[in-house]
Each structure stands twice: as C-alpha cells, then as structure tokens.
C-alpha cells in the first residue's frame, strides 16, 4: 500500500500531459464571457458627443447593445453598415470607441453615419479590460435589468443578429 502512494505524482502528471496534448492546436480565441449574468461594470468614460463624463446612471433603461469598435479595426468597417440597419430598426446601441483616438472616430462617424445612441471613449482600454474584451468588434447584450446576457465576438451579421435578437427579448 505504501508503495502505491509514491506513484500518485506520476499518475497525476500523465493525466495532465494528456490534457495538455488535447489542448494543443485548439483555437484559444473563442471564449464566452465570465460576465454573463452580471451587471455592467462601473462606467466612467468621456462621451464623444458631449465631452462629459458618463456613468452607469446615464445608460439606457431597456434592453440594449454595447458595441466595442475602433477606426483601426477592419472588421468594424465591415460591421458598420449592419449596425446602421439596426439603428434604423430602432435598436439602441452604445458604442465604445476602443483604444482609438477621438479625431479619427469623429471623422469615421461623419463619413459612414452614426449608428450609436451614445459613443464613449475608452482610449486606454480600461473599460474593455473590465468587460473582458479581447479585441474589436465585440458586442454585449444588456437586458432591461442592466444584466449582461450575451457576448458576441466578431462582426454582427444576419446569423449573429438572430441569436442576439433572442437574447434581447
């Protein structure tokens, strides 16, 4: 019996080795948010439109989307027309201009149109960190109680919108 004990470390190690081996080569980017089911983290950001500091109190009441974007992000440019369509349907979207500069963001919105109810500047990406964002674009669905219910990575398109719509009701 005593001898068996000394084999435990070896067995545990082999099991770990197998787990590692299975993990190799898998796409490490897909990651659902740990924040699902939690309220939106504390917001303390400057608004692009008014230059005023915006906090959680100013957020919309009903279900809405938080969309992380940046002028540096090519996928955001692809996503943009779809957001414009959603805006026409009356979907409230809060844009977070993520790790970007203000002047180019303003120009972008002037040229392409503004699908956002409100655009907040997250130049340092602090809010992005709090939301667990790994890149842009990323879209979060917030329900009427202010709880994050879904996270979508990558551009919002017809397929993604079907799922998102489900979460918005």
């Amino acid at each position: 019996m005593r001898k068996v004990i000394f084999f435990i470390p070896l067995v545990v190690f082999i099991a770990l080795g197998i787990v590692f081996y299975l993990q190799l080569g898998k796409n490490p980017e897909y990651m659902p948010s740990a924040l699902v089911g939690k309220p939106v983290p504390k917001i303390h950001l400057v608004s692009l439109d008014t230059d005023q500091v915006v906090t959680n109190v100013e957020l919309p009441k009903g279900p809405y989307l938080i969309n992380f974007w940046g002028t540096w992000c090519p996928t955001c440019a692809i996503e943009h027309p779809y957001l414009m369509r959603l805006e026409k349907q009356g979907v409230p979207i809060i844009g977070i201009d993520y790790k970007d500069d203000k002047a180019s963001a303003e120009q972008w919105l002037r040229n392409k149109g503004n699908p956002y109810k409100m655009v907040l500047l997250d130049e340092l990406g602090n809010f992005g960190v709090n939301m667990g964002v790994t890149g842009a674009p990323e879209t979060f669905v917030i329900n009427s109680k202010g709880i994050i219910v879904y996270r979508h990575q990558g551009a919002v398109d017809d397929v993604a919108w079907k799922t998102i719509q489900g979460y918005m009701q």
Binding site: L10, F13, V19, L24, E29, V46, K102
Partner: protein
Amino acid sequence: MLPEVGNFSLILSLFFAGSLAIVPITGYWRHNPILLSTARPLTLLMSCFVLVSFIVLAIAFLTNDFSVLYVSLNSNSNLPIWYKFSAIWGSHEGSLLLWVLILCGWSTAVALKSHTLPKEVGPIVLSVLGMVATGFLLFMLFTSSPFVRDLPNVPANGEDLNPLLQDVGLVIHPPMLYMGYVGFSVAFAFAIAALITGNLNSSWARWARPWTAVSWAFLTLGITLGSWWAYYELGWGGWWFWDPVENASLMPWLAGTALIHSLAVTEKRGVFKSWTVLLAIFTFSLSLLGTFLVRSGVLTSVHAFAADPTRGVFILALLIVLIGSSLLLYSLRASQVKAGVAFGLTGREAWLLLNNIILTVLTLTVLLGTLYPLLFEALDLGRISVGAPYFNTVFSPLALLLMVFMAIGPLSKWHNTKPSLLVRLCVWPGVVSILLAGVISYAYHLGGMAWLSLSVAFLVVLLTCKDWFLKVSSGSKGIIPRARQLPRNYYGMMLAHLGLVVSLIGILMVSTCSEETTVKIAAGQTVSFAGYQFTLNQFESLKGPNYVADQADIAVYQDGKLVAQLKPEKRFYEARRQVMTEASLNAGITRDLYVSLGEKLDDQAWSMRIYVKAFVRWIWFGGILMVCGGVLSALDKRYRTRVEGRHA
C-alpha cells in the same frame, strides 16, 4: 558568416551537452572513475559554446545585422543601444538562448564547487543538468533557432522591439526570473542524484540548500521587478493581474518557498526525506511548466510571445520525458526509503509541516486556477476564464493563515516544544497586535479584512523581534556579541519574514486606500482630487530616438505647496506604428501619485487618468527584503566551512 558560427557553436554545445548527459552517469554505473571525471570538462565546454552563440547573437543585434530574421523582427537601427542588447531576449528564440545560457552558468558554478561533494555525486548532478540542457538545445535547434537568415531579401531596417519591452525594467526582469527558474534545476539535479545513488540522507539537503536559497532570491527579485514594471509601464497602475504568465512565475516561487523550508527540516532532523525530494522535482517541473505555458499557446495571455503548435508539441514531449522520468524514478526509489525518526506534534517540524501543506495548497490553487480553463474545455464543458476574484478569494485567507504560522513557528524548538510555553510567548504580542490593528483600522475606516490582515502583520513583527530578543538576551554574554553569534541563516529568515509582512501591508493598503479618477483637462486648468491639486501647465511635442511624443507638464500641489512635477507622455513608435502610454509618477513612502494620459479630446483638452496609490512601494520593498534574506541565508558560514575545511 558570423550567424552561421553562432548556429554551429550551438550544435557543438549540443554535442557536449549530450555527452555530459550520458558519459558521467555511465561511469557511475560501470564504476569507471575516468568516465566520471569527464563531467567537469564537458560542462565547461558546453557552457563555452553556448556563450559563444550568445555573444554572436549580441553582435548581430549591436551591428544591426537585419539579414538575421530574429534581429530584423526585434530590433531597429534607431533603437537605443541598451535596448538592442536586451532585445536578445525580447522574443521567443532569444529567450530560450538566454534560458540555456543561464542553465550553463549554474552548471558551471556547480562544476567549480563540486570538489566539496563526494566523488560520484558531483558528476551525476552535472549529468542531470546536461540532460536538461540537451533537451532545451534540441528544442532550440529544431524549432526555434535565433540564427535563421532572411536571405536574399535583407530588409533595410528592422521592425523594432515591441515598445512595451523598451524599458529598463524589462532589461533586467527576464534574466532575473530565468536565474530563478533555472536555478531550481540545481536543487532538482541534487534530488535526482540522491535518487540515483540511493543516498537519500540529509546530506543532499545540505548541499542543495544554498543553491535553492539563491535561486529563490533571484526568482523573488524577478517577480518583484516584473510587478514593478507592469505597474509603471502598462499605464493602469495595477501591480498584479493573475495573468497566466504571472501565475507561471508565482507557482515555482510558492513551491520553492516550501522547498526551502522542507530542505531545512530534512537537513536538521532527517525527516520529510521523500517529501523534500518530491518537492524539488515539483518546483523544477513548475519552472518548466511556466516556460511551456508561456511558449506553447495552450494558454493565451497579455504577454504570451508565440503561439506555435509545433513548438508546443516539442515542449510537451520534453516535459514528459524530463518530469515523467524523474517521477518514475521517484516512485521506484522513494518507496525504499525508511521513514525518518518520528517527530513531536508540537515541535518546529510540525509548524514547518503546516507551512509546507499551506504552500503546497496555495501552489495547487494557482495551478488549478491557471489550468482550470484547459481542464474545463478538455472535458467538453465549454470555455471559461478564471479571473482575479477566484484567486483573491482562495488565496488571501490561506496566505494569512500561513503568516500566522510563520509568526509562531520560529519560536518553537526542534522535536518538541511545550504548548503552554508557546501560548505564554504569544499571548501578549497577540493581544497587542489585535488592539493596535483595531485602533488603526477604526481610525482610518479600513474595515474588517484590514483589521485581520494588520493584526497578522503586527503579530509577525512582534513575535519575530521577541524571538530575536529571547535569543540574544539569554546567557551571560552581552546582547551585541550574542547577536553577532546568531547564524546568517537566522537573520536571512528574519529578513525574509519581515519582507513578507512589508509586502502584505503594501498589498492591503493599496487595495483598500487607493483612489482613482478620469478627468478632462486642458492647458491652464486645475483639477482637485484626493486632497491634491493637479495643474496642467502645458503640452509639448517631443522627439525620442525611435518615437515622437506628446508630453504634458503637470504640477501637483498639496495645501498650496508644490509636491511633484509630473510629465506623462503619449508616444508614437514609428517603426511599429504603435501608440504607447507612458505614465508619470511621483513615488512616496505612503503614497504614489500616478498620472497617465488618455486621448486628445479636442484641440486643447485631453482625458487623463489620475491614481493615488497608497503604500504601493511597500510591496516591492518587501520583495527586496526577501531577496536580501535569501542571499544572506545562502551565505551562512555552515555551507562555507566545509569548503574551507577542505582547503586547509
């Protein structure tokens, strides 16, 4: 031509490392003293050729040889010269070369000191180190040679070093961290040598102790530097993020701390023998795992370098061969060790056993948190990430408990201590600590957790001082001669324990008393925050060697007096077209003022983030104290007298 010399030199060192891994150990089995005696020259040859490779790579960087792919990806002719040098370890291939170079440095040190060891132990230890080196050299030559050329399309200029790494903290952080990681290979090699020869007595523990203490000190310094760097360079004023890469360095540190204590028990009392061997294997395995996790792409992180599955498979194979075979050897040999002498449940052994249990649980906690996402996915349960809340919840109470034991343990005696004596020694310091901490937390509205933590901190300080006082005041001699007689080992322990308390106070204060805000500010405006007035005098445009920057000139006043002049910058690195935030801070004993520039909001105004970080320096100062403690105890006379006795 020169890069080819570097590569060839690596191949030669692989040859010598391979020989070192095989020849001396064959000599041991065949009882052939000539084969055994090859260990030293082979170690020196292996190290020489690795050093040549390293120098060649350094020359390639310093002379801007952009025909070398690694140089062109990580350097630029405008890069300041010291960053050109540190760019050697700015990415995967060069880091590995540094890893192997440091391994060779440790092996050489062991080779030079090995004449104090029994005849066959030194060569076996070197042989084990040679096996590790062989594995890493193979890995380097087959998957990640830094000498690969990019011919014939030699770029006119390099892509520059990642701006995040262009910093003095990053010049010294990786070498220190690697000194620690790799240093544990020496303790590991001693443990394996003990398993191979079957001499699992207390002598191997004595040989391994100073090496372990020095490695631990280096690792502590590396982690401290890393935390300090993250604090001022990443621009969000955090000092620890529970990022997988940080965890990768914390795990060997925790296990190494356990190992230091367990080695002491094995050496002094001859107990915990097989446990200490396992811990030595475990510590080094975690160092390897750290390298693996950062390099393989199984875990992503803020500062993971490469995500390359081929490399991952290779490292995994390397890990399985190295760790798997050591554990197999362990399972076969450790079971033959007779259980050591029994020890009392109230002696110092028991306290150190508690220390080992908690440190091991802490290590496993971090390991679990780091690997949980992997396990979770391997079982097809989906994907999750484990964040700071998990670590803080599990880690803090255990760490506090550990510190309580750390306060009481040193007062106890080996073998047996009367519980009533311990209680008598601890009652008053305990009461005083709780009251003092209560008064402070009440006066500054710190809350219950702070009260608890401060009580523990004071308890450690009081009991550590009391223990010292008891030791120096007993006996007929005066206090000063007796204080001088106490071994360096003891003072090393005192320093390290007090250092941990200093860090604890820093961590506690920075997480409970810090303040932060984001403001919009234009030239000439003043913002009041946390009792300070921040006046933005002007903005300036600057030109650095490889970047352009906007710099704000901010004067900070308190009660009308100028306390600091801060100059945060927003830098644009031309070669990589990357924007970097350079925070500016004013350091103080009880608080840091920390300002980082956000974005230009319009023609005049910028957004700016202001932090007042309470006691944050204490975290790193405590780290430095621990480093001093580790070095001091490694310098204890007991480890040296053997050497001197030999020479006499």
